[in-house]
């Protein structure tokens, strides 16, 4: 560890944080736009700073795409009155939004988002227990929601918090179990090594499709997305755990949710779809030049984008489950399936070795 390491790490953290936050803002925009398209309406199409209308073709086009909507949304969140209802448990009420965002941001630290650029590995922390670290941090994500529900000191948020805690624990188990075949096949916990393995053997989705399906569905449950958004279910809980929040404190919860979605999209890309590699154009080897390094990062972001669209698409295509169906799916379907998956994978690997 030396001075260089610290400088480069700080730069990487700052850039990743900036990119992630931008992506969060534009995910919200994409969500609104895709929702609009699915429901056959135009969606956000008129917010723009005044100078934009003087740009010939690009200006109106970006405006119609809702390109400036995130700026307006963010500004609105900051300028709204930050109201603290009477009777809330103040410390937890202030703490919960932060606790909701931090784990999602921390998960990104171990995901390799590119190969090499300027002699630096494009991952913030190349941990040799990368996967376990992500699961550990993801499992902390539930505290934000639970504390928000508890702090509000009222009925509906409380129910939302209770629901979230049971739901996230249940699906964490299915999720953790689903990844074990991947580890068995790749033989490593380090995410960079898993990507390297995939460059020589092919993407892991080909070897562990069942794992991927369980992981994908569990990711929906872990990030509290429809069809598993029981913690905030508007029709049942009037908004759930975040009912009492307003202004920026409220905005932190969607921010955390979208950051968690991005993190789980990154995990899926890394674990099952070869991370920053593509099997052609020589994109599967660590980059020798700066443009190749950039290309790797773009490949990674493009793959993540696909999963983000899937996340958003599913939200507007499927109705919410019932809570007992959720528990049934998690414990009585996914857990045995994941265990059988582990056993079969282990037996196959044992026979072939």
């Amino acid at each position: 560890m030396d001075w260089n390491f610290i400088i480069f790490s700080v730069v990487k953290v700052a850039v990743v944080f900036g990119v992630l936050m931008t992506m969060v803002a534009y995910s919200v925009m994409a969500e609104r736009k895709i929702a609009a398209w699915i429901q056959d309406r135009p969606g956000p199409n008129r917010v723009a700073p005044p100078f934009v209308k003087y740009i010939p073709v690009l200006g109106p086009m970006l405006t119609r795409l809702g390109f400036f909507q995130p700026l307006a949304d963010g500004l609105k969140s900051f300028l709204k009155e930050d109201f603290t209802p009477g009777g809330v448990k103040k410390i937890y009420f202030w703490l919960a939004p932060a606790v909701a965002v931090v784990p999602a941001l921390m998960t990104v630290a171990v995901i390799p988002f590119g190969s090499v650029m300027g002699g630096q590995q494009m991952v913030i922390a190349n941990l040799n227990v990368g996967i376990l670290y992500t699961f550990g941090i993801v499992s902390l994500g539930v505290y934000g929601i639970v504390l928000a529900g508890y702090a509000a000191n009222s009925k509906y948020p409380f129910l939302g918090g209770i629901r979230a805690s049971a739901q996230m624990i249940s699906y964490e188990i299915a999720m953790g179990m689903s990844v074990i075949p991947v580890l068995l096949i790749a033989g490593d916990l380090n995410l960079s090594d898993i990507i390297t393995w995939q460059t020589s053997h092919g993407w892991l989705i080909l070897y562990a499709p069942v794992s991927f399906v369980i992981f994908l569905v569990s990711a929906f449950a872990e990030t509290n997305r429809t069809p598993f958004d029981f913690a905030e279910a508007e029709q049942e809980l009037a908004g759930g755990y975040n009912v009492e929040y307003s202004s920026m404190k409220f905005a932190m919860f969607p921010m955390g949710e979208y950051a968690a979605m991005l993190a789980s999209a990154g995990m899926m890309v890394t674990l099952f779809f070869g991370g920053w590699t593509l099997p052609f154009w020589g994109l599967d080897q660590p980059a020798q030049s700066l443009p190749m390094g950039l290309a790797h990062i773009l490949v990674f972001l493009a793959k993540m984008l696909v999963f983000m669209v899937v996340f958003i698409w599913v939200r507007w295509m499927f109705p919410r489950f019932r809570y007992d169906q959720l528990m049934d799916l998690g414990w009585r379907r996914f857990l045995p399936l994941a265990l059988a998956n582990i056993l079969i994978t282990a037996i196959v690997l044992w026979i072939r070795s």
Partner: protein
């Protein structure tokens, strides 16, 4: 620059981090059981979470990354969430004012005594730490140790968990009686 580089390579950062995490662990652990500001069980549970996380930090400083990750994954992420779940489901208003009972005090002290004696014995038999085995690539090494040298204790622990599970099923199915 040179001076800072030297400091870093001599492990000054690790030392500072050790003191920070050690202090955090102890302070949070004390606040779990004797918080002068709040007797709310939720607050106690949250401080226990902080204790667990700062202990994971200590494990990281010992290069035991696997232990650190599992510590957070299992204790902070699963066990403590269940604790919170139960605390929130039970209405514990009465618990907030409850005084310490003699029975709880005695059994608690016995448990603490047992744990302390185990720790003291372990500390007395341990060296000064310089010749401790390196745990690099520790996931592999740990797995191998668990399934070769320590198979019997490992299996006994898993049977213990099985017993607990059977107990839970029995308790939740009252109709069986």
């Amino acid at each position: 620059m040179e001076a800072i580089n030297n400091l870093i390579s001599q492990g000054a950062v690790q030392d500072v981090l050790f003191w920070v995490f050690a202090a955090l662990t102890l302070i949070c652990a004390i606040l779990v059981i004797a918080n002068p500001f709040s007797r709310s069980p939720v607050t106690s549970a949250m401080f226990l979470v902080l204790t667990i996380i700062s202990m994971a930090g200590l494990f990281v400083l010992l290069h035991a990354f696997f232990l650190a990750a599992v510590q957070i994954l299992v204790y902070a992420g699963a066990v403590m969430v269940l604790f919170l779940f139960v605390i929130m489901l039970l209405d514990l208003k009465e618990e907030q004012r409850r005084k310490i009972k003699l029975f709880g005090l005695v059994t608690g002290l016995i448990a603490v005594g047992g744990i302390v004696s185990v720790f003291l014995k372990a500390l007395a038999s341990a060296g000064n730490g310089t010749d401790a085995p390196k745990l690099e690539g520790e996931t592999y090494a740990l797995g191998k140790l668990l399934f070769t040298q320590y198979t019997l204790p490992f299996e006994i622990v898993s049977v213990l968990l099985l017993v607990a599970m059977v107990g839970v099923i029995l308790l939740s199915k009252r109709k069986l009686e």
